[in-house]
């Protein structure tokens, strides 16, 4: 069963001894079955807070406002037990570090059997044969034997494949991959990108890929949300984001990527300044202090989300449809 996901006016703040940190502010995103959604931004922009909110895994000091509608149900308002059931059954998360995603003292096979705990209709032998088929599917040779391995016996790339297999075993309607290739070498990264792209052909749910790597997002996603300082500053089709970026931050971020230049540059482009302190988010545009196109209203008035086309939006005073 897979349905659409829509977060509207979603805000998350963390209560800390030094005051509240407004990690996510008024975020609107939507995703439909069969889509691959990319969430891109630099460290501290709130992309991990967003996906942990979607997976209902926020720490106890987080306060959540707004709604996350999945399949017509508001996840933010469910009680803990219903949330947990949903995570096993409908929502799966592939974490950044394939090293710590598994229990080191249990074999891969045993852990993947446990991942299917919600499938009460299957016996252990059936679960194991599903695992073997899924491991084979994600490109692990000799799957039967690999099931008896402990996590440390597998390489980083293989562990990431197993983590993807584990997520898919639950038949999730929503698969979240948080920095799925960051810990891997470039040759393995290309293979995991290829694997995810192949898997989506036969998978009907939503895939959300979070990355700071623009190349990974461009290779994988259909639609992209660009985040900065806890806000979605621009969203649209992947081609519009990479070829017709309108928000000054998106443009600056794209311009910084050295992979875009083939001739040697004497100076690499950068974005001067630092992101704002999220305990006291600015009242105007969050990017105004670093923006070279900022004018008077940017400092005092929060910019509206401007609709540039049916699917392309940007949160900026300077853009016009």
């Amino acid at each position: 069963m897979s349905g659409s996901l829509a977060a509207s006016d979603l805000s998350v703040r963390y209560e800390t001894p030094h005051g509240a940190v407004h990690a996510l502010r008024h975020v609107d995103i939507e995703a439909h079955p069969g889509e691959v959604i990319g969430i891109v931004g630099e460290s501290g922009c709130g992309k991990s807070t967003l996906v942990t909110a979607l997976a209902n895994l926020l720490p106890a000091n987080a306060r959540i406002e707004g709604s996350i509608c999945y399949n017509g149900v508001d996840l933010a308002k469910l009680d803990a037990d219903r949330q947990r059931l949903l995570r096993g059954d409908e929502i799966a998360l592939v974490s950044q570090d394939p090293m710590t995603a598994f229990n080191p003292v249990l074999t891969i096979g045993d852990q993947l059997v446990d991942f299917q705990h919600h499938r009460k209709d299957l016996g252990r032998a059936q679960k194991r044969s599903r695992i073997a088929a899924m491991l084979d599917r994600v490109g692990i040779a000799d799957a039967e034997r690999r099931m008896d391995c402990y996590p440390h016996e597998l390489s980083g790339g293989m562990r990431q494949r197993v983590a993807i297999a584990a997520a898919l075993l639950t038949d999730p309607g929503l698969l979240i991959a948080d920095e799925p290739t960051t810990a891997l070498d470039v040759t393995m990264e290309a293979q995991i990108i290829h694997l995810l792209r192949e898997l989506r052909r036969e998978y009907n749910g939503i895939i959300i890929v979070v990355s700071h790597h623009l190349g990974v997002i461009a290779e994988l996603c259909d639609r992209v949300y660009v985040m900065y300082a806890g806000e979605v500053v621009e969203g649209g089709e992947v081609d519009a984001i990479f070829h017709d970026a309108r928000h000054p931050y998106t443009q600056a971020l794209l311009a910084c990527d050295p992979a875009r230049f083939h001739e040697r540059l004497e100076r690499l482009p950068t974005i001067p300044g630092t992101p704002p302190n999220l305990t006291l988010p600015p009242s105007g545009c969050v990017y105004a202090p670093r923006c070279d196109r900022a004018f008077a209203p940017c400092v005092s008035v929060a910019p509206p989300l401007v609709k540039l086309s049916t699917s392309h939006v940007a949160r900026c005073h300077a853009v016009t449809p």
Partner: protein, 342 residues
Amino acid sequence: MTPLLAVEDLSVTFARNGLLSRLINPFPLPSFNVIDGVTLSLMPGETLGLVGESGSGKTTLARTILGLVRAAAGRIVFEGREVRTPADFRAMRRRSAMMFQDPVASLSPRLRIGTLLTEPRIIQGVPMPDRRAAARALLALVGLPASFVDRFPHELSGGQARRVGVARALAMKPHLLLADEPTAGLDVSVQGDVLNLIGELQRELGFAAMIVTHNLAMIRHVSDRLAIMYLGRLVETGPTRDVFAAPMHPYTATLIQSEPVPDPRRRSRNPAVTGEIPSVFRRPSGCEFHTRCPIARDRCKTEAPACRPMGADRMVRCHFPLETGGQEREAFSRASANQRGN
């Protein structure tokens, strides 16, 4: 011009077994070459990029050059003199510096930035009349405010910690800077800052740099020459521009092709290479890349290729190097079937 640093036929061997198992097992397993026959040189003021996947031995090579790991065979010549004894290495380290991979972890958490910056001079016994002024001068060099002398490492951001790392490496005015993954874990907008800073200081102070990295997109802009490593051996060296324009070793070509392109209109079709870098403990016979090479032939499985000079300043270690317009290159592009659209 004589090279600042010349490494000749350098090998590093790690024993497979620890002390305990050697005591128990009277017939120890053979030891393994982590670095095998590496020859390279670095001219004064030049920037060399040392590139490879994790497990290729690039960090070990950098550490061996500074004497932090002992070489089993080969020669290291620094400023025209061979470096052999621990005293030689100590003297060499006075004129060279290393930036370690993790910027925060490489700064002692209980020392203030001012102390950390001047520590190299204390260790080397350089007279310093005013320690705080020296620290402030180093901070100014890397564009950090003087108030940072009293801060602790945990109070810095990743980019600031990296700048402190640069300042500390330059405290002894080195002739050689070895930077191990200087941009790992940094955002793209900050990565450029750190690299621009190293580049500016290099032009100003004239030191040579060796940058160890797996980030091809970055190294293409900051290095003059490249050395590509695979399983402890150099497989290709040459001027950066030439290597990117026409890689000769199939491994170099697959690395360049594997890099994701930030353009959805030019998506790759298939991964250029499958499988993973083998362990040095189970080094494949013949050419070590034959297990993953798209154009490997029978000869590659049995016979290890020798270093072949390819014109001025280029070397490749391959039986069938990809020459421009040659049949190997065509076979390679067919085999890897990874031509990007557009």
